[in-house]
């Protein structure tokens, strides 16, 4: 059974901080949580991974290009080009979504997840076409703001 919504956020925060501490060697501070469809996190890169199964939806990771560069350098030990930056954001998103999926598997059947996609730009937002829940959790990493978004529909209805 899917956990209550507040617990869902705890699971998402735990998955995200675990990825950052283990693979990026950075501490994250969780900040505000925003429910509903009005939130528009400011970012220049968005990684997203879809999932499907007993629930369907999307995990998206929003960040600035400067934050992506800092994360990539911390993770790989080198600076990389624009294409490599997108790949790195995709991989971080994949790990966050995967860690979230693993934790959620304790409550229900394991979901299938998609390969990540990365969108580069600033004046857009993700609009779900279902009645699923949407939550955005803000984090700070040093001077950078990061956001992890979850859209989830706890049945077979398409979420995005």
């Amino acid at each position: 059974m899917i956990p209550a919504t507040a617990s869902l956020v705890d699971v998402l925060v735990g998955a995200t901080t675990d990825v950052f501490e283990t693979m990026i060697f950075r501490q994250l501070q969780a900040r505000e949580t925003t429910w509903g469809h009005a939130a528009r996190p400011k970012s220049q890169m968005v990684g997203s991974v879809g999932f499907a199964g007993s629930s369907t939806g999307l995990v998206a990771f929003h960040l600035s290009t400067a934050a992506a560069r800092e994360i990539t350098t911390a993770m790989l030990g080198i600076e990389i080009d624009e294409e490599g930056l997108a790949d790195a954001v995709g991989e971080v998103t994949n790990m966050i979504a995967g860690a979230f999926r693993t934790r959620m598997a304790a409550f229900q059947d394991a979901w299938a997840i998609s390969v990540p996609t990365v969108t580069v730009g600033s004046d857009f937002y993700i609009k779900p076409i279902s009645t699923g829940d949407r939550v955005i959790v803000g984090f700070t990493m040093d001077a950078h703001e990061l956001f992890v978004e979850l859209i989830i529909t706890p049945d077979a209805e398409a979420a995005v």
Partner: protein
């Protein structure tokens, strides 16, 4: 020891190579999906394969199944590094021929422990 690292993410291949280098290993081949991984088998002796699960063209499970049907790949140790960590996933991977499993995110110590475990089985 020579590694074949199969992952569609150049970032994850770089992370794995960086980690292996810190652990003292020096020889690596890379492939971006399972099909490329099978092609790389002809490039010489491979002592250990590290593969992702979710990849385009040919995923890690199909790659390992195909690998096990080749003369070169029948007995090579295979470590799967993936976010797919549910019990059903692990069972499916082991059934396909994977020897051991590392769940992302992972530490260098975990990777070392798993490499030692599969290498000792070879």
């Amino acid at each position: 020891m020579r590694f074949l690292i199969v992952d569609d993410s150049s970032t994850m291949r770089r992370i794995i190579i960086n980690t292996l280098t810190k652990l003292g290993y020096e020889s690596f081949l890379e492939a971006g999906n399972g099909r490329e991984g099978l092609d790389r088998l002809g490039a010489g002796q491979i002592d250990l394969v590290i593969t992702d699960w979710n990849m385009p063209e040919m995923n890690g499970i199909d790659f390992v199944r195909n690998l096990r049907s080749t003369p070169h790949g029948k007995s090579v140790p295979v470590l799967m590094v993936t976010t797919n960590a549910a019990n059903a996933d692990v069972a499916e991977a082991l059934k396909a021929g994977v020897n051991n499993y590392v769940v992302k995110p992972f530490t260098a110590d975990t990777l070392k422990e798993k490499i030692n475990a599969v290498a000792s089985q070879a």
